[in-house]
């Protein structure tokens, strides 16, 4: 799963120039990233670079963690033991991906507690995609195929992002992610080849998840003020629109192959561009979801906070047990 870096609309964009006290260091830094060198935790870096990364990596981590909720919703109702084992393994992976990413963010000087607090208080963002409900089993197929498919499209270039710990986390994530997309497509394939009702269920899921999935790549380039800076610093390696187009181009034939229809009447192959043209995206909806409007967003945060609070006795017990063991070992 992935989140593109989101900012509140009224938030000022990152200042492209670092503190004036370090022009030489800044020049050296810029030269290093321009030469595709990796930046490591103890290297000097401009404040804005650090802040952008903390925001992007922590949002990415939050997305993995919140992303467990819509799919976890179907674990007990998976249609077979095989599907259940697979979904369980996938949700477990998402939790792991969140942990890799929190660790990468911590190397920049933020703490796990600060990040979790920012998520629970609503200050931190996570991918808008998880604020949609999972209504039917086909939604689990659509999420694996489309949401994880979009995530892979985003994350593959991030394996070469300029910040070493983030890039290494992405290598692990990408390696594990491929099964997520294939199991989702397999679910869709089975439903599309099933009874009329099953096929309608698959089509309905595609209808509801298509637009949110292509919105996952974030606002259009002309409306994405930080993209140029992030690309210059090699934090991002491709723009939102480039990645969105790539995703559409590979996904449309996959839908056709199983007899499903992409819910976009303007979708048309453009032979000149060698790409699909697609219809206008409803960005008002996107920003409403970013702001956390809607019942599902509230449900997600309530579920997160509840899990954290319900787990308190476990954290307390672990601390008490460790203290007791320390006393015992000291006595020996």
């Amino acid at each position: 799963m992935y989140t593109t870096e989101l900012k509140d609309k009224n938030q000022k964009s990152v200042t492209p120039v670092a503190a004036p006290e370090d022009p030489e260091r800044l020049a050296a830094f810029e030269a290093r990233v321009a030469a595709d060198d990796f930046i490591e935790p103890k290297d000097w870096m401009p404040d804005a670079y650090r802040k952008t990364l903390v925001r992007q990596i922590s949002q990415h981590a939050h997305s993995e963690i919140v992303g467990m909720l819509p799919e976890g919703n179907w674990i007990t109702r998976a249609p077979s033991l095989r599907r259940k084992a697979v979904l369980l393994a996938k949700v477990q992976d998402e939790g792991g991906h969140g942990l890799y990413l929190y660790s990468a963010a911590e190397t920049l000087g933020t703490s796990r507690e600060e990040m979790i607090e920012a998520l629970h208080s609503g200050r931190a963002k996570y991918s808008t995609i998880f604020n949609y409900p999972t209504l039917t089993w086909a939604d689990i197929g659509a999420i694996g195929w489309l949401v994880d498919g979009a995530a892979i499209m985003n994350q593959v270039p991030l394996q070469r992002t300029s910040y070493g710990p983030y890039a290494r986390a992405m290598v692990r994530v990408c390696k594990e992610e491929s099964f997520h997309q294939r199991q989702g497509y397999e679910i869709m394939m089975a439903l599309a080849a099933g009874t009329g009702a099953q096929k309608r269920m698959a089509q309905d899921a595609l209808n509801r998840w298509w637009w949110p999935s292509i919105m996952m790549f974030g606002p259009p380039d002309e409306n994405s003020p930080n993209t140029a800076q992030s690309i210059r610093w090699r934090i991002k390696r491709e723009t939102n629109d480039e990645l969105r187009q790539k995703f559409i181009d590979v996904t449309v034939p996959q839908a056709e192959a199983i007899g499903l229809t992409i819910p976009d009447e303007a979708l048309k192959w453009n032979a000149e561009r060698g790409s699909y043209d697609y219809g206008a995206i409803d960005w008002d909806e996107f920003y409403a979801v970013v702001r956390g409007e809607g019942a599902t967003a509230k449900e997600r945060m309530q579920a997160r906070v509840k899990a954290w609070e319900d787990g308190k006795w476990v954290r307390d017990a672990a601390a008490a047990h460790a203290a007791k063991r320390q006393v015992r070992e000291a006595a020996e």
Binding site: D37, F38, I39, E40, K42, D43, R82, A85, V86, A89, D93, W145, G149, G164, A167, R168, E176, S178, F179, Q181, R182, Q183, Y185, E186, M189, V250, P253, Q254, A257, I258
Partner: protein
């Protein structure tokens, strides 16, 4: 004065972008001297750009005798691998 110097584990980052990898260990009286000794012992031929020194006593290692119970449960979960899912040849990029 007959105190045995503690053991330190040495990790080297070959170049930026790669993680630190274990290279070996050194004996030294303190962390700073361990770093100097590691530099002299393990990086005489441009082996790396960064060193981590960790007190050997601080490393918690699993017991090889527990390997089966720790790692075997993953063996029958082939569905964690992408090749478990059969996708027709005409479907590309997945």
């Amino acid at each position: 004065m007959n105190k045995v110097w503690p053991l330190w584990e040495v990790f080297i980052r070959a170049k930026n972008g790669l993680s630190h990898r274990h290279a070996g260990s050194v004996h030294a009286a303190d962390a700073k001297m361990a770093l100097e000794a590691a530099r002299d012992t393990y990086t005489r031929r441009m082996e790396g750009v960064s060193l981590w020194i960790v007190p050997s006593a601080a490393i918690v290692a699993s017991d090889p005798g527990d390997a089966a119970e720790l790692f075997e449960p993953a063996a029958d979960k082939v569905y964690r691998h992408p090749t478990f899912y059969v996708i027709p040849d005409n479907v590309k990029n997945i």
